[in-house]
């Protein structure tokens, strides 16, 4: 706590929430324009006895990028693409650079990011911190396995890390939720593409069983795959879904008009939710109607459709500030993974959400491939389900707690980048390599300089030995 006689001006705080717009705590936001500005901020926070955390584009849904009473290092102004090797496709960017900015720089040159989450508006620093996955996880893993090097400003100074360079700290930083320090620079290997389009197969599945079976088949043939599940329909239609699978299109896949400019990339954002409505627009009736329309209009099976990168990877980015549509209480996204042996948990989770009338909109099902080497990384081989759920309903806490229990019992886990309500007892069970991660962090940052609200909420053991 600040001594009362301190004469230095106190920078103003702001109340910041995650992307789900629920909760919110106050911190000082300190923008940095270049990596050089980061280390002095770390020193300043240390000397003032304040905690510290990096914050990028704020796309974590819960409290992962909040640091109540502390300092948030805002990496957004530090967003340059520093270097692209035209032969190897290895790119070096500042950590505040977004996937959006990077794609605009590299797609026209014939390169694509090795992994993109469902939005391109994440910073690369945030992507590393959450070890993000995409529709190609079954084949290419999470972003951590495509990193060559990181620059990290940690509690003990500035270091460069990589899979072959201080590997323990490197893997503690990948998936480390910003708690090992502030990543200032990211160096990653891009994927060569011939065109900026994808060849897409779309299929409808009548129920969850068919969906899982078809996803498994399609995963063997395609680099990208995902199923959009109707979260509202139950009974014999439980888990009915529209599966899309795709691959980067080659020149030959394009028709003549597109072939003249095969690497064009110019995603537009035509729509926006301009204000937060006083009540949520995402109600039971609207969600049910949207699911009906969307399922009915999907083809039973269509192959060879050509889609753009934005259409295929980032459909929600076409409506700016869409998270406002959930109204003043906000929403949470619940995402878990269970090993294939626990696939029944997916069905139980959908049933429990429906029984509690929690109106899961935007349910996404995907199968994961091999896990990353990072101790706190989320993906593991098995099934992952993500559901957006409006906050404010009475049953949300107990129902999600119940599903957490099923997930943990099946050997699965929930995704920290989306979490805002997991209980600490289950956290340790879901992340069995936590002790390993903690040993690296304790060696590096014994004073717990880097702390997030998420960590305060989950890492009870830490707190018992600290001042928070």
């Amino acid at each position: 706590m600040r001594a009362s006689g301190d004469a230095r001006p106190v920078p103003p705080r702001r109340v910041l929430t995650g992307f789900g717009r629920a909760g919110g705590t106050a911190a000082v936001l300190r923008p940095v324009r270049s990596p050089d500005e980061v280390a002095p901020l770390v020193e300043e926070a240390r000397s003032e006895g304040r905690h510290l955390l990096p914050r990028g584009l704020g796309r974590a849904y819960g409290d992962a990028a909040q640091c109540a009473g502390g300092v948030l290092v805002d990496t957004r102004p530090m967003d340059r693409v520093l270097e692209i090797d035209p032969d190897s496709g290895v790119v070096r960017v500042e950590a505040g650079c977004s996937v959006d900015t990077l794609l605009r720089a590299v797609v026209p040159r014939g390169w694509f990011v090795p992994v993109t989450p469902g939005t391109r508006h994440v910073s690369l620093g945030g992507a590393v911190a959450a070890d993000v996955h995409g529709k190609n996880h079954h084949r290419d893993g999470s972003i951590g396995s495509h990193l060559r090097e990181l620059e990290l400003v940690g509690a003990s100074g500035v270091t460069r890390l990589g899979p072959g360079r201080d590997a323990e700290r490197f893997w503690a930083t990948v998936g480390g939720m910003g708690l090992t320090g502030i990543v200032t620079e990211v160096c990653l290997a891009l994927r060569r593409i011939e065109t900026s389009r994808l060849v897409v197969t779309t299929e409808r599945a009548r129920d969850l069983e068919e969906c899982m079976a078809r996803l498994s088949d399609l995963d063997a043939q395609h680099r990208y795959s995902v199923a959009w599940v109707d979260g509202i329909s139950g009974g014999s239609r439980l888990g009915r879904s529209v599966i899309t699978a795709g691959d980067h299109a080659s020149l030959d896949d394009l028709d003549a008009s597109d072939r003249s400019d095969p690497l064009s990339y110019d995603p537009r954002v035509p729509l926006a939710v301009p204000v937060t409505p006083p009540v949520g627009l995402v109600g039971r009736t609207t969600v049910r109607a949207l699911n009906e329309v969307w399922y009915a209009k999907a083809p039973r099976r269509r192959v060879g459709e050509i889609q753009t990168i934005a259409q295929f990877f980032h459909p929600l980015d076409s409506v700016r500030d869409w998270n406002r549509a959930y109204g003043p209480h906000g929403f949470t996204q619940y995402q878990f993974v269970v090993p294939s042996s626990g696939s029944e948990v997916v069905r139980r989770a959908l049933e429990l959400l429906q029984r509690a009338r929690l109106t899961p909109s935007l349910c996404v099902l995907k199968s994961f491939g091999a896990a990353s080497l990072a101790p706190l990384s989320f993906p593991m081989p098995g099934w992952t389900l993500a559901a957006d759920i409006p906050v404010g309903g009475h049953a949300i806490g107990p129902v999600l707690d119940e599903i957490d229990g099923l997930v943990a019992a099946a050997g699965g886990r929930v995704y920290l980048a989306k979490d805002g309500r997991l209980r600490p007892e289950l956290f340790a069970a879901m992340y069995p390599r936590l002790a390993e991660w903690r040993a690296v962090r304790d060696r590096d940052d014994p004073g717990r300089l880097f702390v997030s609200d998420l960590w305060r909420r989950l890492a009870v053991q830490d707190r018992e030995r600290s001042d928070w």
Partner: protein, 253 residues
């Protein structure tokens, strides 16, 4: 930390022997409650409440003295609470006393004591906590006000007037805390069947501590600024503000 559904992990209660507080804590213990500080005067009641929470599996429960009139102790009370909890996710202000509204039974001292127990004491302690919570950058203050303070009635006018003061103070404090990450929720129940109201003729729309606690949990989940119990009081009290005094003073109880 409060989770995104508004559920706290650490709670400090002013008026730790309160039955509404007890009912709320039992509910929160089923969610993610881990540490509680019960502050109050009645050591026996505090100890009983603490034992119950421990039996429900709350890992850390402490009790401490809270005397509304002892304003000089309130900052030390905050320090004592912070010996047990690292930060205050939820401060529940549940201290109060009904007292009398009969002119013969009242004395200047009795009026001052009631105002102190229901308004100035809790307000002073709230302020002490609010400043520390604002420094921590997060937390919620839940204040038990009353419909009795929204439009004061003959039958409990001293209590009602003091609650009116507390309600107004809490609204202003909530506004003053804007931007600090600390939010204030004002709870306005009607007649609640508790030890405090034992022997008082029951008013219409009476509830029990369990119903008030349920309403508070829903208020936390909805991030509500005001919680009426039952909810219909929101409408009734809006209407009540238009009832002429001549009629209002004749409405029984």
């Amino acid at each position: 930390m409060n989770d995104v559904t508004g559920m706290p992990e650490s709670v400090v209660v002013l008026g730790g022997g309160s039955e509404i507080a007890r009912a709320l804590l039992v509910r929160l213990a089923g969610r993610r409650l881990r540490a509680v500080v019960l502050a109050g005067r009645d050591e026996t009641a505090l100890a009983a409440a603490a034992r119950e929470l421990e039996s429900l599996g709350v890992p850390t429960v402490a009790t401490t003295r809270f005397e509304a009139s002892d304003v000089s102790d309130h900052e030390d009370l905050v320090r004592r609470a912070l010996d047990t909890v690292a930060s205050v996710d939820l401060l529940l202000v549940a201290a109060g006393a009904l007292g009398s509204a009969e002119l013969e039974a009242l004395s200047p001292e009795a009026v001052a004591r009631l105002v102190e127990a229901n308004f100035t004491g809790p307000a002073a302690a709230m302020l002490a906590f609010a400043r520390v919570m604002a420094d921590h950058g997060h937390g919620r203050i839940v204040v038990l006000s009353s419909v009795a303070g929204v439009r004061v009635r003959r039958s409990n006018f001293v209590y009602g007037a003091a609650k009116a003061g507390l309600d107004g103070f809490s609204q202003g404090l909530g506004d003053a805390l804007e931007g600090t990450g600390v939010r204030v929720t004002i709870v306005r129940p009607g007649f609640v069947r508790t030890r405090m109201t034992a022997g008082v003729p029951e008013a219409p729309l009476a509830t029990g501590p369990e119903e008030v606690a349920d309403a508070i949990v829903r208020g936390l989940e909805r991030d509500a600024e005001v919680v009426w119990v039952p909810a219909v009081f929101r409408v009734l009290l809006a209407l009540a503000s238009h009832v002429p005094r001549a009629l209002w003073r004749r409405i029984p109880s």
